[in-house]
Amino acid sequence: MIAQEEKVIVFELNNEEYCIPVKFVKSIEKIQYITRVPKVEPFVKGVINLRGVVTPIIDLRLRFDFPELPFNDQTRIIIVSINEKEVGFIVDSANDVLDVQQSQIESAPEVVGEIERDYIKGVAKLDKRLLILLDLENILDSSFGTNTNV
């Protein structure tokens, strides 16, 4: 799946660093007005108008059951597109683009931070940084880990 060397976007969430491959990322937006959508999972904050396209927004903090934080100047929405689904992830901040070697990625240990393993593809060790590579497909698959029945 992962090429020899892959560019990833690094973002911060609950004081840990996560990354997703650049090829899935369409853009990074500042926080803007989000229209609430009633009766959906709590982590779906609503939809935004992304240059004419109505795009659902997922708060990754809530998706991973982290405590919710008020948005600030650093808060970003990362727009990803995978399997014809286009959504935005709210993250604490997005600050880096890095090259990750295949060899630097290890499979996910049983417990990484506080996130369930299903959402993690692997862990990349770069110098002293530890980047958690997210499994976007599983995160967007609503059958995983949704405890709310609507």
Binding site: Y33, T35, R36, V37, P38, K39, V40, V44, G46, V47, I48, N49, G52, V53, V54, T55, P56, N83, E84, K85, E86, V87, L140, V150
Partner: protein, 684 residues
Amino acid sequence: MEMNQYLDIFLDESREHLQSINENLLELEKDPTNLSIVNEIFRSAHTLKGMSATMGYEDLAKLTHKMENVLDGIRNNKIKVTSNLLDIVFQSIDDLEAMVGSISSGGDGKRDVHEIVRLLAEIENGGVVAREEIAATAEATISNLQYDEYEITVLQESKEQGFEIVELKVELSTNCLLKAARSYMVFETLEQNGEVIKSNPTVEKIEEEQFANFFFVTYITKNNIEEIKQKLLNISEIENVEFTNVDLDSLISSRNVDQNDSSEESKVTEETNANEEIAKENSEKDAQIKEQSSKTKTTQQNTKTIRVNIERLDILMNLFEELVIDRGRLEQLSRELNHGELQETVERMTRVSSDLQNIILNMRMIPIDTVFNRFPRMVRQLAKDLNKKIDLQIIGAETELDRTVIDEIGDPLVHLIRNALDHGIEKPEIRVQKGKPETGTVELNAYHSGNHVFIEVKEDGAGISSEKILDKAISKKVITKQAASSLTEQQIFDLIFASGFSTAEKISDVSGRGVGLDVVKSKIEALGGSVTVTSELGRGTTFSIQLPLTLSIISVMLVELQDEKYAIPLSSIIETAYVKKSDILSAHNQKVIDFRGKVVPLLFLNDLFNVPNSEGQVEDGYSIVIVRKGEKLAGLVVDSFIGQQEIVLKSLGNYLTNVFAISGATILGDGQVALIIDCNALIK
């Protein structure tokens, strides 16, 4: 092969012609003496033959040719129209359709047509001595142009003035697509260098492309004829140009012979001028049709149309949607600025763009007739196979639907109609026993209501027994016994759409081939529609399909719930009202109001949508939007009305599917997203 680029056009047109033949044959069966219908069929068959021969599909051409001969016999009153004859013609149409189908799926369009060709030949020979093959005329090199007295005088005078008179035979390449355009260029060139006196077929027919790949022109010029020939050959797709000098004297004498003599001579001309003959027939037929134009709808071919790729329309639509959003923004700005001239301009723009919007939307709409028109044929055949007598009534075939829906709705409808015929309508003898008319009626009814289209398949057959459904459902483990006991009648009927359910006790050839109604249901739901069934034992069953128009621009009423804005489609709204708290009644834990004599339940959208409550408002009344779904009404309680607006329907994307009571979203003038309320989901 380079033919490939024309293949799509060929397929499209072949299907159209086959469809029109089908329809007209059915008409003919009802009215066997109406020759204008025969002519219409003949013309379609003839075009089809020409096209398939050009494309190199010999079997197709051969069969059409035989069919054409039979039609010709009918046309000339030599063969009588009988049900048996029509069966064979229908059968050959089936074969033709199969061949076209094979071509479209990449096959070679070959098929064993010997048997049907033999049958056709039998009919033909039974009626008349076989006519000589019209195809032979393609070899003809003499034009056999007929001149009337006036034309001969003109020719004589021209000759005296030193003009050279020639007859030109212009041949277009066999795969020429724009015959009319090429011929026009030929005429243009000719007119620059001289004068065209006459042409065969006539200029009008040439413009309508009603000729094979050659035509004759009588032409006078003072220029060098070889040069002109060269110029003509320079026009692309002109295969060959031949000219012969006209001997005026022999013309005059032959004219005299022609007038006196008739039989042999005219027989030849009749055949060599096959084109003109058809042209003549056509014009005769046109005249006939004009007389009875109210009856036949087949003159549509006269309207000029172009084929446009649906993708281009989609792009146009998308661009227009962007424009509508900007228009909303402009409207808002001009209101805020309160600038007279600006407002005027924006208003004008709004009007123009609404017109534009109508046109664009209508371009994508096609009458449902394009789906319905194949059913009479199907029902006729099925009724014969099943030994049942069935009268198919089609109502509302002109109802228009979006192209994308039309493409998808055919199969589910076929399924429902087959079901109706096979399981619904009883055998004639049983019907008589039950005291019903021997002939069963199947009614296919399409109509608009709100921004939905309803299609009903209704039959007066045996009806469905709800007990039988329950027994079956329990035995097939679709539902448990306990759950079954609490079901309403409607819920029981809905069970037949459950997967793994088939009511037919035995599997017949016509329906029940393993594909259940659940497929119908899922297909319709995939289109954003729904299907319900109502049945009365002994009286018949009605399947009712509700489909969205898929209008991507709709009129809505914008409302506010606290700080959130929602859009309610205008088509579901009956009216808005303001109701005092004291007027609200309570029934079975449900708040209701008395609205014009009807008890209407109230739905508090704030609670329903869990709208965050900012402040405990104390009001002495409610703003209510009365909406409907079919006959049922409901009152939606909102905080305030904003107003009416045209909005562009946008989907919530592939991630958020099945959001409760939200059918989509839109972008307002200020760039915010507003959700569109799905009233149908709110009313149960």
